[in-house]
């Protein structure tokens, strides 16, 4: 069975796409935040790999072709950015200062907590890109020589948390303006938070997707300064 499954490069793609479809279906059916398609797909895929004893490398021969699309997909984030250009222009200062403060806060809190947990350089650098979209986070972690897989884990935890709690947190913290809500959720929890912001409203969603791109760029610049601190 194991040898048979390992012979085709399509096995990884079938598992990935299939489990994601199951995840989408479950979310549609139950409409609960816990039924996050991404989370379901990842846990099911890991389960299937462990159950059938399929090696990750065998799985990745096919599945890596999906990851190749990350760069073009991130390039395409320029499209919503362009579409919301008017809204961006009108609130330009507020948005830019807001995102910049968020990015700086992210770097400072991670630096402080890395000191608190006594993390080494590699662990610290690994966690620095945790608030930005995975596409940029992965390449940034690679550039900084961090543990890419752990960066992805931190990004997923952050995103999932933002997706689940973003709306509630905004209410508790009295963030009411739709633009501010979008910026807060997007800056703190990237694409997965943006999915939630899209559900709250159009402006929130647009602002959130905008801040994915801007926060991504700003974090790249900020980490150049912050990477040498530990």
């Amino acid at each position: 069975m194991k040898e048979l499954l390992g012979t085709s490069i399509f096995i990884g793609l079938v598992i990935t796409l299939g489990t994601y479809l199951i995840g989408l279906h479950l979310r549609k059916k139950f409409n609960l935040f816990i039924f996050n398609p991404l989370l379901i797909a990842i846990s099911l895929t890991i389960g299937i790999l462990l159950l059938f004893g399929i090696d990750y490398n065998t799985y990745n021969i096919g599945a890596q072709h999906l990851s190749y699309l990350l760069t073009p997909a991130t390039v395409c984030l320029a499209i919503p950015l362009y579409e919301q250009f008017k809204l961006l222009k009108k609130n330009f200062t507020a948005i830019m200062v807001g995102i910049a403060s968020g990015v700086l806060t992210s770097c400072v809190t991670i630096f402080c907590m890395a000191l608190l947990f006594r993390l080494g350089h590699h662990e610290y650098v690994t966690l620095l890109p945790k608030s930005i979209t995975t596409a940029i986070g992965i390449s940034l972690s690679e550039e900084l020589h961090g543990y890419v897989a752990i960066t992805v884990a931190a990004i997923m935890i952050t995103g999932l948390f933002g997706n689940i709690a973003g709306d509630i947190l905004c209410r508790i913290l009295h963030i009411k303006h739709p633009v501010a809500k979008g910026i807060a959720i997007g800056t703190a929890s990237h694409v997965m938070g943006t999915a939630k912001a899209m559900e709250i409203g159009e402006i929130e969603g647009a602002m959130s997707s905008l801040s994915i791109a801007v926060a991504g760029c700003m974090t790249v610049i900020a980490t150049i300064g912050f990477e040498w601190l530990i």
């Binding site: 599945a63 390039v75 609130n91 807001g98 945790k130 543990y147 884990a153 931190a154």
Partner: protein, 147 residues
Amino acid sequence: MQGLPCIFYNFAINCKNRLHSLINSWKMKYIIQFTIIIAISLIGELLNIIIPLPIPASIYGMVILFTALITGIIKLSAVKETGKFLIYIMPLMFIPPTVGLIGAWDTMQSFLVAIVVISLVSTIIVLAVSGHVTQWIIEFKERRNKR
């Protein structure tokens, strides 16, 4: 031309035109859009190799596409559908690297608590700060404009 041949001729022309618009409208469009996006990604990768800064290829590409859209070098219709589709399927691309976590489990175990705590705490603080700063500036400007 008159009568039956004319009808056939018109029918043939009609078919040919429809075929062309069909190809231009949706089949070719996607190939063109995908080519543009991939070409921009390629330029981004080349810049990433040439310029010695820790800036990912995707960021270079995003800036190039955004500048091209603003200046009108690339029209929105030349990238829109394929671009939106790629953004829509973006979550799928995160699955393989995340599944790769099983390989990194040994490295991660030692500071798993740190990862979870740092992620959750910093997310709350970042959300609060960026949201309030944005809201404060917007409200400040609105108040100033009213005066």
